[in-house]
Structure formats: C-alpha cells, structure tokens
Symmetry: C3
Subunit: 128 residues, 3 copies
C-alpha cells in the first residue's frame, strides 16, 4: 500500500482489513509522517500517556493486523527521526501521513488471529 498526505494510517488499515477480509497480517513500513501520536502504557492507571509529534521521517513501522471482538485491531509500533535525525519511538496511538508518502508492506497470514485482554497483565495480547 502507498498512502498519501493526510491519510489516517489506522483508518486505512482497518478499511483494508474489512474490504479484503484479511484474517491477519504482518506490517512493515516507512515514509513521511505529518503527525504521530505515541503512547506509553501506565500500568497503574491502565491508560496510555500520549504525546503527539509532527513532521517526522518514519524510519520503521512494525506491527500486526488482527481482530478483537469482531473489529479490526491493528497494533503498530514506530520509530521516526526529526529534521536533526534524532529519533523517537513507541507504541502508536495515531498516525497521519505527511507531505510525500508512506509505504506499507502487508504480509498476509492465512489464519485469523484475535487479540484478547490477558487478565494477568491487563493488556491486549495476540492469541496464537
């Protein structure tokens, strides 16, 4: 997939999962990011502490596509560099393509994979 400026990466991946009935997939990608919201999981509050950054070269996007309660559930981590090549990274809560494009490679897995809350750790875990 080649996404263009302004595209919402999560929404686009969710639409492709529905339209193509993708059972599961491995994601890799890179490109230019207009806006990225990272979140660090706080186990006390069970919430992600978010931070939004703008205009970054995404050096790597790594993730999986799976389903949760019948809905598409992409899980993406990213690393991105700013105009001085310092890098930032973490779990992605939102990602919007910037000027230029973002290339995503979707490697299909033929078995449907589901995520579910693991009661021991209070987080979503991919069930194999």
């Amino acid at each position: 997939m080649v996404l263009r400026q302004g595209d919402d990466v999560f929404a686009r991946l969710e639409a492709v999962m529905r339209d193509e009935a993708i059972p599961a997939a491995i994601i890799s990608g890179f490109g230019f990011v207009g806006k990225a919201t990272f979140g660090f999981f706080d186990y006390e509050t069970k919430q992600y502490r978010p931070k939004t950054m703008t205009d970054l070269e995404l050096t790597n996007l790594t993730g999986t596509l799976a389903w949760k309660d019948g809905e598409p559930a992409p899980h993406l981590h990213g690393t991105a560099g700013d105009d001085s090549f310092r890098t930032f990274g973490g779990h992605l809560l939102a990602l919007e393509v910037g000027r230029g494009s973002l290339e995503i490679n979707v490697l299909l897995i033929p078995t449907r994979l589901e995520r579910a809350i693991d009661p021991d750790i209070g987080a979503n875990v991919l069930q194999l």
Copy 2:
C-alpha cells in the same frame, strides 16, 4: 545478501537489481555501518539537507526497490545507534558498511514497480 566492510549499499542493491532483473522488492536489514548519510527533505528548496555520521550499529534498514525512468531506484530509511546506544535515523542518501557486516533481506515482488514525481507534492512516489 551479506555485505562486507567498505561496500556501498546503494551501489550493491542497484547492481543486484540489474543483474537479477528484480521487478521490485521489500528490503529489511541490519548490521554495522561505517558511514551513513541521512537527508531531511526541505519542501521549500526541494532538496535534502544531509548529515553524515560514522561507526553506528544499524538497528533497522527498511525500504523498497523499484525503478525510475529505467534506472534502479532503491528507497531506504534507517535507524542506527552509536557507542552509547543513542539512535539517529531518517531517509538514507548513502550507506557504507563498516567493520563487520551488514545483512540485507530482499523479499521479491513479482510485479515491476516504478517511482514517479508526484506533481502535487514534488517528491518521488511509488506507483502501484
């Protein structure tokens, strides 16, 4: 592919694209870098502002191989750590293997892919 000290990664990938008539490919890799030149695209000048760094562990190389105007056109992004494990990353303009080696995984795509300048954004975009 396993590249060795002093190898020019772009020249080696371009040679393999020609020699093996690779229509397109997904690239991932890692290894030791003698010299990496990153570039951040400046939309005002339509030029990359470059910075060269030396002796880094490349933690991830992500990219695609495609063609532009009949010539091989690798597009690579990288993240790399220095001797204190701080990381730097961005769009790669040049990459030379350092002491040790650099391992590159080339996942072939059977369809020939071309890049072309997108007039709206003034940058090369992969055409699917």
Copy 3:
C-alpha cells in the same frame, strides 16, 4: 510467536530453532521489554561494551537465525523507546519480555545458514 512477561527472547528462539530444526530465518518483532542489554563492539578488545536498560517499548527487532559450530546463533538488533519516547538501540546481547507481550515474526529460510568468525575482521559473519 507471542512471548510473555519474563520470557528470555534468546533462550526461546534457540529452543524453537532446535525443536523445529529451523535451518535459518529472518526475524522481525516488537513489543514491551522488561530488560534489554545492548552491546557495542570494541575492535581493540574484541569485546562488546554492554549497557542494560529497563521498561522500554521495543519499536523494532530485526535479526537472523543461523547456526554456529552446531549451536543456534540468533543475531538480533533492536530499537526501543522509553516513557518519554526517546529511543535507544544497537546489537542485542540479552532481551527479556516486560509486562505485556512481545510479538515475533519468524520468516523461514529453507537453506541452513552458518555463522563463522571472519579472520579479517574478527567478528562473526553469516556465510551465504
């Protein structure tokens, strides 16, 4: 593979290589890390200078599985972000899963690959 809190990533990969007789593989992954030990190779002493860090989101794991002297020899590089999304990365000496999980994609290569010390550079190099 989905690894859980406390799992030793190297030990788990080595066990899978033996149990499934994996000739070689490309590794990618991401998830939450309880403890990561990075090492930067010092060519004077031929030793890795190590540094251990805790509680990081692993934004990317890139590596290969091969064999050396009849033993499993995973080679892994990683990039990881802390709670302020600063990233660190390099060659991994040890990696333990943190709260949550770590997802690893193992892409099998049908040919057995071996690592051997390259006498010119004094480091392990993958033999193709």
